[in-house]
């Protein structure tokens, strides 16, 4: 089983054990299970942790604990924390290129483009942290003596089913808009291409993103997604990476606790979506999908 080759070949590689990323730590699945990950051509890459329903619950608990303090940070601070993720990814650029090339079975050149876009995407969303409230908030001219204003707030804990094809850029493109506003995320990574997600976890662990704000699980979507969708302490789900035949069952369980549901738009295929198209793949609406609008009435008078 060849490892991901970063350096020379004249020594024996030190291979990495891919684990989960929960609450700022890297546990194996509590179930002790793993599954074999191959590249699209069938070559073996590594064993990934096969998370269990208990791992999902642990991740949700970590996310819930982290969500309120994360949302309470200043917007500028959250922006800087996201920018820091880009800084750290930049330093590991070659590693990400090698991992994405291996995971997605593509040339190094193509993988480099994807990784560059993933880094730039963090930068793009980092800048939104202290602007989205001005774009989506309002002061409302009510016909009565009240100062009335509307402010966006983070929804809370978001369960995210990552795109299946795009192991890193797709993941970052959906994750950054969730966390930039103050949400905490529980991510189920691409099932077939999970390894770059865990390496992203290594970046997150050494960045300033507080433990628990982003939790990354690898495993079988058929097993994990229903648990995440049904969890009553999850406030919203991003179903981009849900298989078409699973969409309705996921929405049915999500509706049990009136979760917000963000969907892949009709007619857009996960495999064919071009994540390098900035107009299409980075949008303030994707931040808005995980926000609540709070309207306040305050009397005007002496």
């Amino acid at each position: 089983m060849p490892g991901v080759r970063i350096g020379g070949t004249d020594r024996i590689d030190v291979r990495k054990t891919y684990k989960l990323y929960i609450d700022g730590a890297f546990p194996r699945s509590e179930s002790g299970r793993s599954y074999l990950v191959s590249n699209p051509k069938g070559a073996e890459l590594a064993n990934a942790s096969r998370a269990s329903r208990k791992d999902v619950r642990d991740a949700v608990r970590a996310a819930r604990k982290a969500a309120e303090p994360w949302a309470a940070r200043t917007a500028m601070n959250r922006g800087q924390v996201l920018y820091r993720v880009a800084e750290l990814m930049e330093g590991r650029r070659d590693q990400f290129v090698a991992e994405v090339a291996a995971a997605e079975g593509m040339s190094g050149r193509r993988a480099r483009t994807l990784v560059d876009h993933a880094i730039d995407r963090w930068v793009w969303y980092a800048g939104w942290a202290d602007k989205i409230a001005q774009l989506l908030g309002s002061s409302n001219p009510v016909a009565a003596p009240y100062f009335n204003f509307t402010i966006p707030e983070a929804t809370g804990v978001v369960g995210m089913v990552a795109p299946e094809s795009s192991s890193l850029l797709g993941l970052v493109s959906r994750l950054a808009p969730i966390v930039v506003s103050g949400n905490a995320a529980v991510v189920i990574a691409s099932e077939t291409r999970p390894l770059p997600a865990i390496t992203l976890g290594e970046v997150l662990a050494t960045s300033d993103v507080p433990g628990g704000v982003i939790n990354l699980l690898t495993g079988l979507k058929a097993e994990l997604v229903p648990v995440l969708a049904a969890h009553v302490d999850v406030d919203a789900v991003d179903t981009w990476g849900v298989a078409a035949e699973q969409q309705a069952p996921v929405e049915i369980s999500a509706a049990e606790s009136i979760k917000r549901i963000a969907r892949r738009p009709k007619g857009i295929s996960d495999a064919a979506f071009d994540w390098t198209d900035d107009r299409a793949a980075q949008r303030p609406e994707w931040i808005a999908a995980f926000l609540e609008m709070k309207t306040v009435w305050h009397p005007i008078g002496a």
Partner: protein, 527 residues
């Protein structure tokens, strides 16, 4: 706006009225313990022994026909199988009219009419022309406001002063506000083109029948959608009168379609494969069923569901003003309000005084004929709702809460319920957890702001909240910590077409009102 009651001018003295059918098999009201409050009133919480002269609003302005059909493609039609159901006056239990009971075939026809109108007419009409139709509707509603108000009170049981001063003016204001958006969509969403979603299926409740119609139809039409609306089966009349208004406005056929019938017809409508957008206001249980019914269909969905709002009174609040706000928060529209302030959270140090003042105030609330201009609390909307309120109040007593009801006289027939105040309520009691949707207030005390926040947020709902304090910085701190979509500071139950309304958590998602409400009816495309 939502001002609940005015000061009472005493008339001739009569003996204290004897409680009649309280609607609930409950103990008679008890004298208030704890001594009189020091500011006003008699202090014993009993009914002030005055008789009020009746001040009935004339019904003459309204003609209620014997039967009403569905409004499909600009025409009034009978149900495909000819079946009807009866709508009654909840204040007398007497029948008002026979209403067509739509079938699946009628749903199909209505959606077809809406689709045709959207793709052939309404969707192609320039925004400035759509705007003028909506302005016409706003004007017509103003012109016929008294007719709508009287009919609304007759069919729903709500007091005339409320339908006259709140529901109908606000409904007209909604059309007015969104009319102006119809030709300004290019400026509404920076960098994006706003396209209509297509056909909107809208299901609305019985507590604000005409106002909810306006909240649904105005933004949908402004954005270029057409609609099929289903009013609640107990309150179809103002929606059907609105159909006549569409005719007067020369609105193109099929732009607004109204079908009437039970909940199953609402479900058939929202799950119809040719519907693009679903908007529902009602209970969380039904909202959940709708979300599950359309799962996987890719329809846009907004839900405005139940609530269990905390109305939080701090020790530095202006108490007399707070009492008015509490009364308005829970007894407005018989408490049949999703955002009603049904949990009163009082700081411990002022609890005794505030409760005494509140009991005193309750004794002057006038319950009775919805068409009497002095009525504060009208009829409960239906027998089923009255039964539900009765059952939950009985549960509150059984669980150990202390009940207070003023000894006001209730009409001999119709669905009426006394304004009810519970003290000694634990958070675990059903009356503190479940949405009662009636004139029932549960009081809970707290010591610190932290405890108030914890208790206020301790519910799966998150629609609204109230904060009463003299301290601005505390208001904004509480605003930040409340999980609620609308927060009223030193006021309650205020609404405006420019002000986004909607819930957190299990109170639903999406907003109605303002620019945010417009967004719920558009698809944003790249420029």
């Amino acid at each position: 706006m939502a001002v609940m009651a005015t000061e009472t001018k005493p008339g001739a003295a009569v003996p204290a009225p004897v409680a009649t059918n309280g609607g609930a098999p409950l103990p008679a009201p008890l004298p208030t313990p704890g001594g009189p409050p020091n500011s006003w009133g008699l202090g014993d919480g009993q009914a002030i022994p005055w008789e009020y002269a009746p001040a009935p609003e004339s019904r003459e302005i309204v003609t209620i026909r014997e039967r009403y059909g569905l409004f499909i493609g600009g025409k009034e039609v009978a149900a495909s199988d000819g079946l009807t159901f009866t709508t009654i006056d909840p204040s007398t239990e007497l029948p008002l009219a026979e209403i067509a009971q739509a079938t699946q075939a009628d749903v199909d026809a209505a959606v077809r009419a809406a689709r045709q109108a959207q793709s052939k007419v309404w969707g192609k009409l320039p925004g400035r022309e759509r705007a003028k139709y909506l302005f016409r509707i706003a004007r017509l509603l103003q012109e016929r406001s008294r007719e709508f108000a009287v009919l609304e009170s007759i069919d729903s049981g709500k007091p005339i002063k409320e339908s006259r001063d709140v529901d109908v003016p606000l409904a007209a204001a909604h059309f007015w506000y969104y009319a102006g958006w119809a030709d300004k969509l290019d400026y509404a969403f920076p960098g994006r083109v706003a396209r209509p979603l297509g056909v909107a299926a809208q299901v609305i409740p019985w507590n604000f029948p005409l106002l909810m119609l306006a909240w649904k139809i105005a933004p949908a039409l402004a954005a270029g959608n057409t609609v099929v609306l289903k009013p609640a089966s107990t309150t179809p009349l103002t929606a059907l009168l609105f159909a006549d208004l569409c005719r007067q406005a020369d609105l193109p056929p099929g732009v607004v379609n109204i079908i009437t019938g039970p909940g199953e017809i609402g479900m058939a409508l929202v799950t119809h494969p040719d519907v693009d957008k679903v908007a529902f206001t009602g209970s969380t249980a039904v909202g959940r069923k709708i979300a599950q019914g359309i799962a996987g269909q890719g329809k846009a969905l907004t839900l405005e569901l139940g609530g269990k709002a905390a109305n939080i009174v701090f020790d530095d609040a202006p108490l007399d003003q707070a009492v008015e706000g509490i009364v308005n928060g829970i007894y407005f529209n018989q408490g049949e309000v999703c955002c009603a302030g049904s949990r009163l959270l009082v700081q411990e140090s002022i609890a005794e005084l505030l409760i005494a003042k509140l009991k005193d105030r309750l004794s002057t609330i006038r319950v009775g004929d919805p068409l009497d201009k002095n009525t504060d609390v009208g009829a409960i909307n239906s027998r089923a709702q009255l039964d539900k309120i009765t059952e939950l109040v009985a549960a509150g007593v059984a669980e150990g809460a202390e009940l207070y009801q003023p000894a006001c006289e209730l009409p001999g027939r119709g669905f009426f319920f006394r304004p009810t105040l519970f003290t000694n309520v634990a958070q675990s009691y059903r009356i503190a957890r479940e949405e009662i949707f009636g004139p029932v207030l549960s009081t809970i005390t707290f010591r610190t702001p932290e405890e108030a926040i914890e208790k206020a947020n301790n519910t799966p709902y998150g629609l609204s909240a109230g904060i009463w304090t003299d301290k601005g910085s505390r208001i904004l701190m509480m605003v930040k910590r409340m999980k609620a979509g609308v927060v009223w500071a030193n006021t309650f139950n205020k609404f405006d077409p420019t002000s986004p309304f909607g819930g957190y958590k299990e109170s639903g998602y999406g907003r109605e009102g303002g620019l945010h409400g417009l967004q719920a009816y558009v698809r944003l495309e790249d420029r």
